[in-house]
Amino acid sequence: MANNSGKKSKVKFGVYMKKYWQLYAMLFLPLTYLLIFKYAPMIYVQIAFKKYSLVKSVWELPLAGNHGFEYFIAAFKNNDFKYALRNTLTLNLLDLFFGFPAPIIFALILNELCFVKFKKVVQTIAYMPHFLSWVIIYSLALQLLAPNDGLVNMIIKNFGGEAIPFLNDATHWIGSYIGFGIWQNFGWGSIIYLAAIAGINPELYEAAAVDGAGRFRKIWHITLPGIKPTIVVLLIMSLGNILGGGFDRPFAFQNNLVMRVADVIATFVYRVGIKGLQFSLTTAVGLFQSVVGVFFLLMANFISRRLGERGIW
């Protein structure tokens, strides 16, 4: 009996595979890719707890001091890392505070425009900065903001003002960095809100108009509630990424005069790890960043569900 049923499921499996093997064949390359380039590096995460040496394989490395936490402790005693951690949080929070509302406001204003052609042209222009690399954006920033021959400072000087060191002084640098972040993303970020606005039932606006609601009442009572779920999901993702952040943007914008405010975790890891060869220390930093990042994401998702909003998964 047991034998029989075993045979039966085997036959079934054979029939199943005869039909479905092609799907598994298609998945083979992508899954192998993920296994090698996303999972295999996790083997090397253990060097965060071990004394790295070039000659030994990762498995044979001796455990680091303090029950393996030597490098985590060293990281938190390292002033450069402390600056990088502080800067990562500060720059991300500033991005969130100033950069997050910008696409929403832009989308709401675009939605109020009544000339379709004009709206299309404005949109196309506003998407442009998203297609520039950070290296190019930084070179544009230099063209505009350099103290001697930058366009903005040339104009300031023409009006008799003093040149402003937009990129060479800590406070001004932060302003320029955040400003160009907004510049790069406001148009692109608005796409998703415009799509959400387009999905709002037009009858709501008609009903509101009958009730005598003006333009701003409609925005406040219909458009904003209509895009609230989108706003919340994107806000959660940004909050979850508060300790993350890419490498390209800060690295392109950094210069020696502003490293104190410009060095973030990603660039710290590059400088101290890949350039300075302190692999164990920087792997520990990277692991800390990943783990805290996942924790933030879970927290943000949990809170949003508690508030009765849709989570991101």
């Binding site: 298609m26 060097i47 425009l113 520039l132 690399s133 190019i136 366009l151 799509a195 990277g286 991101i312």
Partner: protein, 290 residues
């Protein structure tokens, strides 16, 4: 037709002016750059170039075009971008298509396997050590393989495939079509919008990315355009011809840098407006998670 109140009209004007200002803010940096690249050295040194070129000439462009290092990086990056885009689209399709079949055994496990990679990244150094182990450091393949598929883009494509009616593939299945045939004959012809979008995303990512070349590529024959640009802007090592005749004088150096940036920007800027209707749809698809 509804009649607008005066206050409404006033706000219309305010919004139009706002949009004009915003557009100007996007365009002015590019105009300034273009003007500088086309201006005469003497005007640049005296800081007289604003939005229109003065002492119009193409010297900066002809100098850049004579520079072997720059030309090499340009065509290498064009080649890389094309190859990466084709490979990436293929891999993404191969991953997204099987996952829409609900009776695929192990589908749930595969989805989890894929999703984990979106949340947890091993980090810069482990990735670097892996490249070292695989002998990919300074190997041109390192600019192609490690980023060949983005899970985020795969999800966009999968969402698009979900939008294609099941009945189409079910009738084909009954007629005995294999899955390869269903993919090639039914899904791919219907997927032009998502393919265009993702091709743009992958191409822009490869064209604009420089961190992988910075970290993994020590052989300057294989520097990508953006890395070369980074080095030029930060005066790390200068373009050969430019060092001989250009960078010594500050005016020409400004117009040369501007010309190089223009060259590196124009290809993408010429393409994206034509794909606008596609990528708007693509971005929206990415936001809809199941």
């Amino acid at each position: 037709m509804k009649i607008k109140s005066n206050a409404d009209r006033a706000w219309d004007v305010v919004f139009v002016i706002f949009c004009l200002l915003v557009s100007a803010m996007c365009v002015i940096p590019m105009l300034n750059l273009l003007a500088k690249s086309l201006s005469g050295t003497e005007f640049l040194v005296r800081n007289e170039v604003y939005l229109l070129p003065k002492g119009f000439n193409f010297n900066a462009y002809s100098t850049v075009l004579k520079d072997p290092k720059y030309i090499r990086a340009f065509f290498w990056t064009v080649f890389l971008t094309i190859v990466c885009t084709i490979l990436s689209l293929t891999m993404t399709t191969l991953c997204a298509f099987p996952l829409i079949f609900e009776n695929l055994k192990g589908r749930k496990a595969i989805n989890i396997f894929i999703t984990i990679t979106m949340f947890f990244n091993a980090g810069t150094i482990p990735n670097y050590l892996l490249m070292q182990k695989l002998h990919l450091l300074s190997n041109p393949l390192v600019l192609i393989i490690p980023g060949v598929m983005s899970v985020y883009n795969m999800i966009i494509m999968r969402s698009f495939f979900y939008g294609i009616p099941d009945s189409l593939r079910e009738s084909a299945e009954i007629d005995g079509a294999t899955f390869f045939k269903i993919l090639v004959l039914i899904y791919l012809p219907l997927s032009k919008p998502v393919m265009a979008t993702l091709a743009l995303f992958y191409a822009v990512g490869r064209w604009n990315g420089y961190s992988d070349a910075l970290m993994y590529m020590r052989d300057d024959r294989f520097y990508t355009l953006q890395l070369l640009l980074y080095n030029i802007i930060n005066n790390i090592n200068q373009v050969e011809v430019a060092t001989q005749e250009g960078f010594s004088s500050p005016g020409l150096s400004a117009s040369l840098k501007a010309a190089i940036v223009m060259f590196s920007t124009v290809p993408i800027l010429c393409i994206y407006p034509f794909l606008q209707k596609y990528f708007i749809h693509g971005v929206t698809l990415g936001a809809v998670k199941e």
